[in-house]
């Protein structure tokens, strides 16, 4: 195997696939990057058997030549050294050559590295997914769906299913839902595709977060395909495969209160910044608690108290407050996470009492729902 390649697209591809590589793997060869040269281009593969990523560098794209002088073949290189080597090479082009003893020579400018490779035959085959039951989502929309929900997954292994994001198709809508049982984030988009082979799957949050780093903020389509216990995301040059979580995701829709007693309309940014300031002291007390109290004349009082440090109190003018008076305490972190995910200038917050979940939505649509459970102070 031999080829000469532009360093930049190579670096980008290497960075894509190392996201799947873990140094703690039970299959030793998976600690390496697989490099394959074909007549169409160069393919890199990384996998930790939960996530597998392939990144492809075509010979040329949009008239720019990336790879030259290809002699086909394949090899596996230690992922521990390869990325740093490529990053620090002196020249814009890199020549990579493998001899019959799997000795890999990397040349760039006047630098030359010689590394021991491993036989690519020993690298496990990735499951191939057939694209029959697939659907497309624009890349930027998929990124939004992930960003607005995946932060709410559980980081505890006590209920493994909650470490994933529930993706389901109901009545011409596609839903992404995540909860760690203290807050819940949900986003829906209109979805006409009824020929899907699935109704509900749970994708590991970690997989989605890695995917989010790899795919671009563009309108290019990502092709998504679900098969039994795997999900595949494919863009033009990236093939991303993740296992799905086993088990039933809890039915959350019935846990979301339908009527409310107090409704607050407020500027997202005004509230966010007040909570952020209150959280400076809240970080010191247990559970990051801030308190919110409705006052006459559309005033909201945000406060936090850490006996050993001090207290903070601030009034925020709401657009409108409807319904009963309210005193409620909640985690500032959950509130900040939710407000940041909401992507709207104005929010509507619906409360049903100091000990029941409250719901934050953009004023103008119902597509995003953030739900937070309050804390009860003893």
């Amino acid at each position: 195997m031999k080829f000469i390649i532009q360093r930049e697209p190579l670096m980008e591809s290497v960075q894509n696939v190392i996201k799947a590589i873990s140094s703690r793997t039970t299959i030793p060869i998976l600690s390496g990057i697989k490099i394959e040269a074909t007549n169409n281009g160069i393919k890199l593969t990384g996998s930790d058997s939960d996530i597998s990523i392939e990144s492809f560098i075509p010979i040329e794209e949009n008239g720019i030549v990336y790879v030259e002088q290809i002699e086909t073949g394949s090899v596996v290189l230690q992922a521990k050294y390869f990325p740093e080597i490529i990053r620090k090479l002196p020249d814009k082009t890199v020549e990579l050559e493998v001899d019959e003893k799997l000795k890999v020579t990397i040349r760039s400018g006047s630098a030359e590295f010689s590394l021991n490779g491993q036989d690519a035959e020993e690298y496990p085959m990735l499951p191939q997914i057939h694209n029959e039951d697939s659907f497309d989502l624009p890349s930027d929309m998929l990124k939004d769906l992930i960003r607005q929900t995946a932060f709410a997954i559980s980081t505890l292994e006590t209920r493994p299913i909650l470490t994933g994001v529930n993706v389901k198709a109901i009545d011409n809508n596609l839903y992404f839902v995540a909860t760690d049982s203290h807050r819940l984030a949900s986003r829906q988009i209109p979805f006409e595709n009824q020929t899907l082979g699935f109704s509900s799957v749970v994708i590991p949050g970690k997989s989605l977060n890695e995917l989010n780093k790899i795919i671009g903020d563009t309108q290019e389509n990502v092709n998504i395909c679900i098969m039994q216990n795997q999900i595949m995301f494919q863009t033009k040059n990236v093939y991303f495969l993740s296992r799905l979580l086993d088990g039933n995701y809890p039915e959350t829709s019935r846990l979301i209160p339908e009527q409310s007693k107090t409704i607050v309309y407020v500027s997202t940014n005004d509230l966010l910044r007040a909570i952020d300031r209150a959280s400076l002291l809240a970080k010191e007390n247990k559970n990051n608690v801030v308190k919110l109290v409705t006052k006459p004349n559309n005033q909201l009082e945000v406060s936090s108290n850490s006996p050993e440090i001090g207290r903070v109190l601030e009034e925020v003018t709401a657009k409108h407050i409807n319904g009963e008076e309210l005193k409620i305490s909640f985690s500032s972190k959950y509130m900040l996470d939710a407000l940041k995910a909401i992507d709207s200038d104005q929010v509507k917050i619906e409360f049903t009492g100091a000990m029941r979940p409250f719901i934050i939505r953009p004023t103008e649509n119902d597509q995003i729902l953030q739900l937070i459970l309050p804390v009860r102070t003893y």
């Binding site: 980081t155 505890l156 292994e157 006590t158 209920r159 909860t179 049982s181 203290h182 807050r183 819940l184 809890p250 959350t252 846990l255 007390n285 247990k286 559970n287 608690v289 305490s329 985690s331 009492g353 100091a354 000990m355 029941r356 979940p357 739900l371 459970l373 309050p374 804390v375 009860r376 102070t377 003893y378």
Partner: protein, 415 residues
């Protein structure tokens, strides 16, 4: 009489009960007096180890933590008793009551030892007279021996009480340090365990005197802030106060147990973890507390011991949560070798009333049902200034200084 008390500085006692559990047993059953007696957990099984023993047994070479079979080999006539913690707690409480007759500044350290600050007790006699009176009362009223150390601070008092056992009263003055304290081997210094001692040997520190003259910069580098503290103590400096409240601050609650046989059987391991989680939950509940970190201990068949811990985003208190985190930690860190002992400790403990309870999406309805009740309480609290319904928390909440239940781990031998 006043000349016994320093113009500046303090007079601190360390009261240390002599082979406490064995002595309590002897007080209950005087026939045991003068005989080699040992208290051991689980006398039948191989995991039975000596918890404590009488002086007669110690003369035969019996030591705390020695396996039972070894002790029996050394002393075939050894009388082995199962621990009876109710008895010990009762005796402990009576002992601390005697101490608190002298001064309210009593700090229980564990079930059988405590500090007293008698700086303000001039009107009750000289320190030696007070110590003698305490020792006599404990012996006459409870039939229990103790040793008392008298010194200008807690560390020296602790070292002093160790110098004469049983039934000793030892005064350790600063001017006597060079002859009484400094010649001692470093591992006999309170606060120096095996690991610290090993590090000190590396620095050629073998006696307390070596520690006094050791380079303080190097000490700090090797042992951190503790190095500085140890050196100060060796020099006779220990500003820590006698704090009667300290016993209420428990930082961790744990439970550990040796398996009947070393094992790699995951089912058996899981079963033990479940049992440990249940113990820890029970103790958390007893203390009305919640914790934010979980630490597990794994001891392998070759006695190599590792601990691994995780800090959680929320406070937990339930068996299932403790179990979930513990077992996950275990699965990530077990090297598949046979296991001898497992332990779970919940750390970063807070009393429930100091922590806001994060409600849970799947269970909030149960809590919310009580909302009306809480509102009524809040209303009355506003009206009367203080929650009129705070419920008493059971027997441990009494106004006398409590015996320490930091030595709670001894409960493991109960069952």
């Amino acid at each position: 009489m006043e000349s016994w008390y320093p113009k500046k500085g303090r007079v601190i006692f360390h009261v240390d009960m002599n082979s406490f559990y064995a002595s309590v047993e002897m007080a209950y059953n005087t026939k045991l007096k003068g005989k080699p007696v040992a208290i051991a957990g689980n006398p039948e099984e191989r995991k039975g180890i000596i918890v404590t023993s009488s002086y007669e047994a110690r003369k035969k070479g019996i030591r705390t933590t020695m396996p039972l079979w070894e002790a029996r080999k050394l002393c075939p006539e050894l009388i082995v008793l199962r621990p009876n913690f109710d008895k010990y707690r009762m005796a402990s409480k009576a002992m601390f009551t005697i101490l608190s007759d002298i001064t309210p500044f009593v700090q229980p350290v564990s079930i059988d030892e405590g500090y007293m600050d008698i700086t303000e007790c001039e009107n009750q006699g000289s320190p030696l007279e007070i110590a003698d009176r305490i020792q006599t009362r404990i012996l006459e009223e409870l039939d229990l021996p103790c040793s008392i150390g008298i010194a200008p601070n807690k560390f020296l008092a602790k070292m002093a009480s160790d110098m004469k056992k049983p039934m000793g009263i030892t005064v350790l003055r600063k001017r006597n340090l060079s002859t009484k304290l400094w010649p001692l081997p470093i591992e006999e210094m309170y606060g120096v365990g095996k690991k610290t001692a090993a590090k000190l040997y590396e620095m050629n520190v073998y006696t307390i005197e070596d520690l006094v003259s050791a380079d303080s910069y190097q000490l700090k580098r090797v042992l951190g802030i503790n190095g500085e503290r140890l050196q100060n103590r060796a020099k006779g400096i220990d500003p820590s106060p006698v704090d009667p409240e300290a016993v209420h601050e428990f930082k961790s609650i744990g439970s550990s147990e040796t398996l009947p046989q070393d094992t790699t059987d995951e089912l058996e391991i899981k079963k033990l973890f479940r049992q440990l989680a249940r113990n820890v939950e029970r103790r958390l509940k007893r203390k009305q507390s919640v914790g934010q970190s979980v630490q597990i201990t794994i001891r392998y068949d070759n006695r190599k011991t590792i601990t691994r811990s995780r800090k959680l985003p929320n406070y937990i208190e339930n068996e299932d949560d403790i179990m979930g985190v513990s077992f996950d930690l275990f699965e990530r860190n077990w090297n598949q070798q046979p296991i001898r002992l497992l332990g779970i400790t919940v750390q970063d403990i807070e009393e429930k009333q100091d922590v806001a309870q994060q409600l849970n999406l799947f269970t909030y309805e149960k809590e919310a049902e009580r909302e009306k009740l809480y509102q009524a309480i809040e209303h009355l609290t506003d009206k009367y200034g203080k929650n009129p319904f705070i419920k008493p928390k059971g027997i441990e909440q009494e106004n006398q200084p409590r015996t320490s239940f930091q030595k709670d781990f001894l409960d493991d031998y109960k069952q």
